[in-house]
């Protein structure tokens, strides 16, 4: 019973943090002389107002689920993976290349294979900071940030020199139809990727709650000395955890290429990897929490478009709100203090 209550209060804190962030956002809108009601109703309509809008929200949610999971999984072993962006680029790039070069395979083999390739590319990229952390103690926060720059430059290098479609644009050719994820609703760009995402969330949940490996990783995250004492190699678990984390970020890239862009283009991401941090924090590093947090951020992004178009409120307000949500969610103490008053 007590545990139940604690669970709900966790959720409660997150909700209060969101409400606080929106309240400050409203204040900002008001101060800049705009209509708060109009802004937020446009925001809500844009995100959930119609089936189509909702599909767009879901479409924007998918990469955030994966990058959010990436950060959350890192946290489980006590590591902070800020390198989701770079890992995602690698994942997207390798996905596109594999799909193009293996286009002769039938869909049923190609799709899983390409997904796997994208995930593994992300893993490979996150392996480096993981390995350096365990070997030399180089702080993963800094190394993963550096790996972002390197990853984006590296994909751009490979693309331009070896895989560039003829023409003026830095992009690969389209991946074959057989490697694309089918759309659920025509023109919506909402594909089966949403099922893959939800499936992965469930898998992660089971992984951490039920499996021995998940248990070992969390033990390392909570107390690495105790893990070592129990015969669990914290180095191995950290590297492994980092690789699973990178795998998720890689999947984010893979599903964007297979479901939305259908090719690799430089500069395709609006910072999904970074938003993933906010998603993980808001979701309290729990897979199911990540799912809902991603939905919120996806809705902010989609609704923000309508808000900008029809209420003339700059999209950047959504960035402000995201920042506030992270700050508030990070401080249950603040919320407790506010509640007491």
């Amino acid at each position: 019973m007590l545990k139940r209550l604690k669970k709900y209060s966790d959720l409660g804190y997150s909700l209060i943090a969101i409400i606080l962030a929106f309240a400050i956002g409203a204040l900002l809108i008001y101060l800049s002389g705009l209509n708060v009601g109009k802004a937020y109703s446009a925001l809500f309509n844009g995100a959930f107002g119609s089936l189509f809008n909702f599909t767009q929200t879901l479409m924007n949610t998918i990469p955030l689920i994966f990058t959010g999971l990436a950060v959350a999984i890192g946290f489980k072993s006590g590591l902070f993976n800020i390198g989701g962006e770079g890992q995602m680029y690698l994942g997207a790039f390798v996905t596109a290349i594999t799909a193009i070069y293996l286009s002769f395979l039938p869909s049923i083999i190609l799709i899983p294979l390409v997904l796997l390739a994208g995930g593994l590319a992300g893993s490979a990229w996150s392996f480096i900071p993981g390995y350096l952390k365990t070997r030399t103690g180089a702080h993963e926060v800094v190394t993963t940030i550096m790996m972002n720059y390197i990853g984006i430059l590296a994909t751009s290098f490979l693309l331009l020199r070896y895989f560039q479609e003829t023409g003026p644009i830095p992009q690969t050719v389209f991946i074959p139809e057989s490697a694309r994820l089918p759309e659920l609703i025509e023109f919506s760009r909402l594909t089966w990727a949403i099922f893959i995402a939800v499936f992965v969330v469930i898998l992660c949940d089971i992984f951490y709650k039920r499996t021995n490996l998940g248990y070992k990783i969390q033990t390392v995250g909570k107390n690495s000395s105790a893990a070592e004492y129990a015969g669990i190699s914290s180095d191995k678990m950290m590297v492994l955890s980092m690789m699973i984390s990178g795998f998720m970020a890689g999947l984010a890239g893979a599903t964007i290429v297979m479901g939305v862009l259908h090719r690799f283009i430089t500069n395709f991401s609006p910072g999904y990897g970074f938003t993933g941090i906010a998603v993980a924090v808001l979701g309290r590093n729990k897979p199911v929490g990540v799912l809902f947090a991603a939905l919120l951020f996806g809705a902010l992004q989609t609704g923000g478009i309508t808000m900008q178009l029809f209420a003339k409120i700059p999209m950047d307000l959504m960035v402000v709100i995201q920042g506030l949500v992270i700050l508030f969610v990070a401080t249950p103490v603040l919320i407790k203090k506010l509640l007491r008053k």
């Binding site: 490996l213 033990t219 107390n223 070592e228 129990a230 015969g231 190699s233």
Partner: protein, 498 residues
């Protein structure tokens, strides 16, 4: 004249009442012992006095005046000084820097280091503390670190000195010299509050004793009017068996054998040198020594948490030198770690998860944890080892220290080990739990298991161990079946038996 008077001090932490309506008077110029078991509320009381905690109720009078001591800063101003059980020293700074921080001598807006060192040397000489002003704290001995702590307090012109379990980390010889310093301080007009759970020390050093039990004052007595037996009775509330009954037993085959093991730290500093130990079936072998002489390294070496540079470790005749912790555990090694919170437990995980720690693979089938099996097993251990908790879903950090330790011991003794490495198994637990733990160790000995007991408690070693080895500066300096306390003390201090 009472320099300090506590009146009705009460302090609770959540549901735990650490101090309940405490009344206590300290006389000027006396050495006053606060005696009690772990968890009796001694440390809480002095932390309140020193401004580290605020009391819920009650008042403190210093020299007759009521004082609201809400920060250590205030306490220092009032002439209080505290020598903490866990030293409050910054390892990377020099002794002088540690001493002056917060009250630095100044020259033109900068710290005047020359004057600071001079002052340190002066006070050090005055009380024979022999502290080197330029030494980096992490490079000096534990005894010297403690003297730095005393210097810190004297530097701040403290008139009342509080010592929180100061002897826990010292050799008997160092204890003797500490007592000399204490008497010197007393002669210099200082008042000393001395916290301990050791009867013998209390008898030796104090003028008066106040016994605390479960957060309450039992009584304050003049030391000259009491006896250890009486004090012990007040401390635990009943007659205590100070000796454990142990049946005679013939030891069997060798289980653990350590051959010429050496271990080096940073800059090739030797941590363990040429260690040879063997432990047989049905035998408890004790390792005695002052903290910091290689016990932790020895423990970690046997558990496979450190790689050794030379030598061999055999378990049941099999070479396990290069084997990982996991494999060693698989071959029947159990380990009660000296630092249960750092090593032995995952405090933010629930009981069940802690109970399978280290043995988790046995509860895993095709990669999945078998939840029902874990639940049944955990319940069984909780019952058998009398772990007081509300439910299996409780996090371990909600348990008391004693129950946490019982969990560790229960877990480690239930895996059917052939060899138990027990390091400081009764550290920081109350007398009731100590008895329980000792009984369990003897039980396992009866079952013909081999136990290596690393302990800082001489009583514990002398009553449980069949053989005792003394470790000093990373070497085994002596091995015998029986020692007197004095012999052990000398050996632990690096002396030879004449």
């Amino acid at each position: 004249m009472n320099i300090i008077e506590f009146k009705g001090i009460t302090k609770t932490f959540g549901s735990l009442t650490a101090n309940s309506n405490i009344d206590l008077q300290i006389k000027k110029g006396e050495i006053h012992c606060l005696l009690g078991e772990n968890g009796a509320g001694k440390t809480t009381l002095v932390n309140i006095l020193f401004g580290l905690y605020n009391q819920d109720k009650g008042e403190i009078f210093i020299a007759g005046k009521p004082c609201d001591i809400n920060t250590p800063h205030k306490a220092i101003e009032l002439g209080l000084g505290m020598i903490h059980q866990h030293f409050m020293l910054v390892d990377r700074l020099t002794t002088t820097e540690n001493i002056i921080a917060g009250e630095e001598p100044m020259k033109n807006g900068f710290v005047d280091m020359t004057r600071a060192k001079k002052q340190v040397r002066k006070i050090s000489d005055e009380y024979h503390l022999s502290v080197e002003p330029d030494a980096i704290v992490e490079n000096i001995s534990v005894g010297e670190q403690q003297r730095v702590e005393i210097l810190k307090v004297l530097y701040r012109k403290a008139k009342i000195l509080i010592f929180d379990e100061p002897t826990a980390v010292l050799t008997p010889q160092e204890v003797a010299s500490l007592f000399k310093i204490l008497n010197k301080l007393k002669a210099g007009g200082k008042t000393i509050i001395f916290i301990t759970h050791k009867l013998e020390e209390t008898m030796k050093i104090s003028d008066r004793v106040t016994v605390l039990r479960k957060g309450k004052v039992i009584d304050t007595v003049n030391t000259s009017n009491t006896s250890p037996k009486e004090l012990a009775k007040m401390m635990v509330g009943r007659e205590v068996l100070l000796r454990v009954e142990k049946e005679k037993k013939k030891s069997g085959e060798t289980v653990l054998e350590i051959r010429n093991v050496s271990l080096y730290g940073k800059h090739k500093r030797p941590l363990l040198q040429n260690i040879n130990i063997s432990v047989n079936q049905g035998e408890i072998v004790g390792i005695a020594g002052v903290a910091g002489n290689g016990q932790l390294e020895l423990e970690e070496t046997i558990a496979g948490l450190r790689k050794i540079q030379a030598g061999q470790i055999l378990l049941n005749g099999e070479d396990i030198t290069g084997k990982q912790t996991k494999e060693r555990r698989g071959k029947g090694l159990s380990h009660i770690p000296s630092d249960r919170l750092k090593r032995g437990l995952v405090p933010s995980s629930d009981l069940a998860k802690n109970i399978i720690l280290g043995n988790h693979n046995a509860f895993s089938k095709k990669g999945f944890l078998q939840r029902d099996k874990i639940k049944k097993y955990s319940k069984n251990i909780i019952e058998k080892f009398d772990i007081r908790c509300r439910s299996l879903q409780d996090n371990v950090d909600q348990l008391s220290g004693g129950n946490q330790q019982k969990l560790v011991i229960g877990r480690e003794l239930s895996t059917n080990p052939v060899f138990i490495l027990a390091a400081q198994p009764t550290r920081g637990v109350d007398v009731g739990a100590i008895e329980f733990i000792h009984q369990n160790l003897l039980e396992i000995r009866k079952k013909n298991k081999a136990v290596l007991l690393i302990s800082a408690e001489l009583e514990e070693l002398m009553s449980l161990a069949d053989r005792i080895l003394v470790i000093y500066e990373g070497r085994i300096v002596s091995e015998k079946k029986k020692y007197t306390r004095e012999e052990l003390g000398l050996l632990m201090a690096g002396e030879k038996l004449g």
